[in-house]
């Protein structure tokens, strides 16, 4: 989506008629963020700037809304997003080790992305399959029961995908 083409009234629909102009504009922000993130993979500063001009909403206000949600990112993300579960069950069964091992292996900290944009490492709280703890996800795929052996496989799986 080109930010310039954004149509506030269309996006907001009938609700727009009963709320004020400012709230109407604010109301479309999340949709706009999602579309921008779909296209760019993250929310680039210049695009938010264009959005700010387009909606005549201050950049700080836009950034404030976006920063509230974990789903929005402000820097480019890796092709593979690896999330290590830090929920209670996984925590008990050694999630910390999994995270540390991945951090060492790829030389990045949680929340960071490798320089070649291949992989982003994150943590989550419970992905809903505690029976398999400790668990990590690579994009949509779940890897469970991560012991020493599985860890090697996990690393391999992440790297394999790069090729």
């Amino acid at each position: 989506m080109r930010v310039e083409d954004l149509d506030v009234n269309e996006m907001i629909g009938d609700v727009g008629k009963i709320i004020c102009e400012h709230d109407r504009k604010k109301g479309v922000l999340i949709h706009a963020f999602q579309k921008i993130q779909q296209d760019y993979g993250y929310l680039p500063g210049e695009v938010l700037m264009t959005l700010s001009k387009k909606l005549s909403l201050p950049l700080a206000e836009i950034y404030s809304v976006a920063s509230f949600y974990k789903q929005f990112h402000f820097s480019p993300r890796g092709k593979k997003v690896v999330r290590v579960c830090m929920g209670t069950a996984c925590h008990v069964r050694g999630a910390k080790n999994v995270l540390n091992a991945l951090e060492d292996e790829f030389g990045i900290k949680q929340g960071e992305t490798t320089d070649d944009l291949a992989m982003t490492l994150e943590t989550v709280g419970c992905v809903g399959c505690c029976g398999l703890a400790p668990v990590a996800t690579i994009n949509e795929d779940v890897v469970g029961d991560i012991g020493k052996k599985k860890l090697e496989l996990l690393v391999k799986a992440i790297k394999e995908e790069e090729k």
Partner: protein, 822 residues
């Protein structure tokens, strides 16, 4: 009205207001931390909770409206306990570094903790420990101390219309920051500093200057623009250390812009004059008052004897008080015997005045700062009011928020265009064409009361004169589409009521007397009162200077005005300039310098050695606004007192006193001993001009372009004010200089490409009158074909390029630009 009981007191209040307001109006205090009457209720801090009978829940009084029969308790053991807990939670992460916090002693958080706090907190957590953000020039942000009340964010975006700050993140780690954690770049109004209930936002220039309890605070009036805001100056040991606004105080009701808040330190500029100076063999030598005054009176006497009284002239100043200006007039009239007097108002307020006299028969024009509120339609004509008159501008934004339709016609993006309902992008300097075009549409569509209006003097000529301003033609002249022209004209004509506002001043070159006349025609055409037209006098005491009679038309005819005195060599032999710096602030300064150099006697009386003072034969040191008593009249025509807050440096004296002493040394007996004496004389001599009149006259005005761009000079130069400065005095403020310290040339991206100019590079700018060098700022806020700059900075010498337009028309200047290599 709603009746309810608060703390046993029966009160009756307006429907729809909050419990907190109702309590405050009846003298009952409820602690609160996230409430400010300028902002919408927010309900974040929960300190303002109250008990209501038959309500199991506690109510946040700041965001609960009153209801009939409510029985409210604001101070009970239960509430004290709740407030204690709220505070305990607020203080979990707060660093409690009061010993090194400038807010201590006047901090809401500290005060509330003192009243409600418990000695011990039950929760142990790491205190926040982020380093303060000191990167910005004037505002320092210490996120550790923030309690996330959101007041700064809201005042900046809701009220100030800027939106530079946001609450970034979620939960405990939330911080107040500009977008992407970048350096704060904003209006630097400092409103967020005043509103912050903690020490999270502080003034950088004031950092570690004094503890709050050692400051002595006194109110005075801002020395910069015509809004006439009340400043509360804090001094310690005879030095002014800070300026702030206090809730509900003065015309500004506690609001201030950055100039009023940070600019006062111009009184500490390095080149303040401390003794009189006399030029001997080309160089200044220090002199005593006696020597200086003798020298002046001897020279003046000689000049009067040789060439007559009319060879002497004087220029007064909007920076000086009424008393100063009055004494200048008295000196000129009764000691010298000359009426050659004028001031910077000649380029602004006087023009407005003259036009309104012609149209409405009024001898005085005051605005009302509250005028925008409640107006159906507000029409702003090519004026950046948020910059020239920031606090008046706030009321325009407020009116827009409350439902007024804000139509802004301008040639560049401004805060007002950003907040407008309709933004008419126009070519610079075409306001007259725009107004004429709109009036033609109103006439053609019969959107006015022909029966009444056609009886107005001058109507027929006026109507005929508009014949050529067809939408098609006007659209070409102004660059505004025909549809927009028609719809704007219709909106303005059909509105229930309206406010039309613009500014005219020496530092702007796109509007003049003809613009005011055209706007008056519109007002008369629509059957409106003069109140519909709001043109603020430009500076702190422009209005008063004019009122005191520092103007060529106040007494006799055949008097020399500023155009004769400064732009005609040989029109005078002696000139007395008080508190004005024409070389820096008036247009076409090369000509002014030539005139000044040809004088036999030039006396400059000022607080600092200005560019003009450098050309003088005698320079007299004057006290600044903070060092004397007196009165200013703001753009509303309201007289306000300024106070002597600190001592004047060296031997400098208040202007009125210097003039009195000079009168004495010229052998004239003047019985005035003190400032009260001057005030009494003023009361006796100056009569109040009537503010209403039934006169209505149409004056035909035709659009004339200033200097049209041509092959040789292809661009139009527009001069505008910058927010952080006002006149040239503010450029001596070290604090304001941190934000904008030099003039720059704003140029559209396309033009920049065309002329090979890159951002921040040096450009040579040439008009038919001169050449200057400035740094370029490439931007998309200005339109192609037009370049913008400001006149405040003496070193920018922008007024070497411009020319004064005497006939009252706008005078944009055609220029060419070249990139400077190296």
């Amino acid at each position: 009205m709603v009746e309810l009981t608060i703390d046993g007191k029966k009160v009756s209040v307006e429907d729809g207001i909050t419990i907190l307001k109702a309590a405050q109006m009846n003298g009952i205090k409820i602690p609160n931390m996230c409430y400010d009457k300028r902002l919408r209720p927010y309900g974040a801090c929960r300190l303002c909770v109250v008990e209501a009978e038959k309500q199991p829940r506690l109510l946040a009084s700041c965001s609960t409206p009153v209801a009939p029969g409510m029985v409210i308790l604001t101070d009970t053991p239960k509430l004290r306990k709740v407030r204690q807990t709220v505070l305990e939670l607020m203080l979990i992460h707060h660093p409690l570094d009061c010993p090194i916090c400038d807010k201590a002693g006047e901090c809401d958080l500290q005060d509330v903790a003192y009243e409600y706090g418990k000695p011990e907190g039950r929760f142990i957590r790491h205190r926040k420990a982020m380093p303060p953000d000191v990167r910005g020039p004037l505002v320092e942000l210490t996120a550790n101390r923030c309690i996330l009340c959101g007041k700064c964010v809201r005042i900046c975006s809701e009220h100030q219309g800027r939106g530079a700050l946001g609450l970034i993140g979620r939960g405990f780690p939330t911080v107040v920051q500009p977008a992407f954690g970048e350096i704060l770049e904003c209006d630097y109004c400092g409103q967020c500093i005043d509103i912050c209930p903690t020490g999270a936002l502080l003034s950088k220039p004031f950092k570690f200057q004094a503890r709050a309890w050692f400051l002595e605070e006194k109110d005075t009036i801002c020395p910069f623009c015509g809004c006439g805001c009340t400043l509360t100056l804090g001094t310690r040991e005879g030095n002014v250390l800070r300026s702030r606004g206090k809730e509900d105080n003065g015309r500004s009701e506690g609001n201030l812009c950055g100039r009023g808040r940070f600019g006062f330190d111009y009184i500490y500029s390095d080149n303040r004059l401390k003794t009189p100076l006399i030029r001997k063999n080309g160089a200044f030598v220090q002199a005593t008052w006696d020597e200086a005054l003798m020298h002046i009176s001897d020279s003046l006497k000689y000049i009067i004897n040789s060439y007559g009284k009319d060879s002497v002239g004087a220029i007064g100043s909007h920076r000086c008080t009424n008393e100063d200006n009055f004494m200048l007039r008295k000196f000129m009239v009764s000691v010298i015997g000359s009426h050659n007097m004028d001031s910077s108002a000649a380029f602004g307020y006087s023009k407005v005045q003259k036009a309104l006299d012609m149209a409405f028969g009024l001898k005085t024009h005051s605005i009302n700062m509250k005028s925008p509120l409640g107006k159906d339609v507000i029409f702003i004509l090519e004026s950046d009011i948020s910059i020239t008159h920031p606090v008046f501008g706030l009321n325009i934004l407020q009116a827009k928020r409350e439902g007024s339709q804000l139509i802004v016609a301008d040639s560049r993006d401004t805060k007002l265009t950003r907040h407008s309902s309709n933004y008419l992008k126009m070519r610079q300097g075409t306001s007259v064409a725009l107004l004429n075009g709109m009036m033609k549409i109103i006439l053609d569509k019969g959107l006015f009361n022909r029966e009444i209006v056609s009886k107005t003097q001058g109507f027929t000529e006026f109507e005929t004169s508009l014949a050529e301003y067809t939408p098609g033609k006007v659209s070409k002249m102004t660059g505004i589409s025909e549809e927009e022209l028609v719809s704007t004209a219709e909106t303005i004509a059909k509105a229930k009521n309206r406010m039309i506002s613009l500014t005219v001043s020496a530092t702007e070159n796109t509007k003049g007397m003809d613009t005011v006349l055209a706007a008056s025609n519109l007002v008369i055409l629509l059957g409106e009162d003069i109140d519909a037209l709001q043109i603020p006098a430009e500076y702190a005491n422009t209005y008063g200077t004019y009122k005191m009679g520092i103007r060529p038309d106040a007494g006799k005819t055949d008097v020399k005005d500023i155009f004769d005195m400064l732009y005609e060599t040989n029109s005078l032999n002696a000139l007395y300039i008080m508190g004005e710096d024409p070389v820096s602030t008036f247009p076409y300064n090369s000509k002014i310098m030539r005139t000044l150099k040809s004088l036999e006697l030039l006396v400059v009386q000022d607080i600092a050695l200005t560019e003009t003072a450098k050309l003088a034969h005698v320079v007299l040191p004057a006290s600044s606004w903070a060092e004397k008593d007196g009165t200013f009249v703001n753009a509303e025509g309201i007289e306000q007192k300024i106070h002597r807050i600190v001592d004047a440096p060296g031997q400098s004296l208040p202007d009125w006193q210097i003039l009195r002493n000079l009168s004495l040394s010229m052998g004239k007996e003047i019985a005035i001993r003190n400032i009260e004496g001057v005030s009494e004389e003023i009361k006796k001599t100056i009569r109040e001009d009537q503010k209403t009149s039934d006169k209505r006259v149409f004056n035909t005005v035709s659009y004339s372009a200033g200097e049209e761009p041509d092959m040789e000079y292809p661009l139009s130069l527009v001069t505008r004010d910058v927010l952080q400065h006002s006149g040239s005095m503010s450029t001596r403020s070290k604090a304001l200089d941190l934000v904008v310290s030099e003039a720059f040339l704003e140029i559209n991206e396309d033009d920049a490409r065309k002329f090979g100019i890159s951002d921040n590079s040096h450009v040579k700018i040439t008009s038919r009158r001169g050449t200057i060098y400035l740094k370029a700022k490439v931007t998309d806020t200005v339109q192609p074909g037009t370049v913008f700059t400001s006149m405040h900075f003496p070193h920018g010498r922008v007024n070497a390029l411009t020319y004064p337009s005497e006939n009252g028309a706008a005078g944009t200047d055609a220029v060419k630009i070249e990139s400077v290599k190296g």
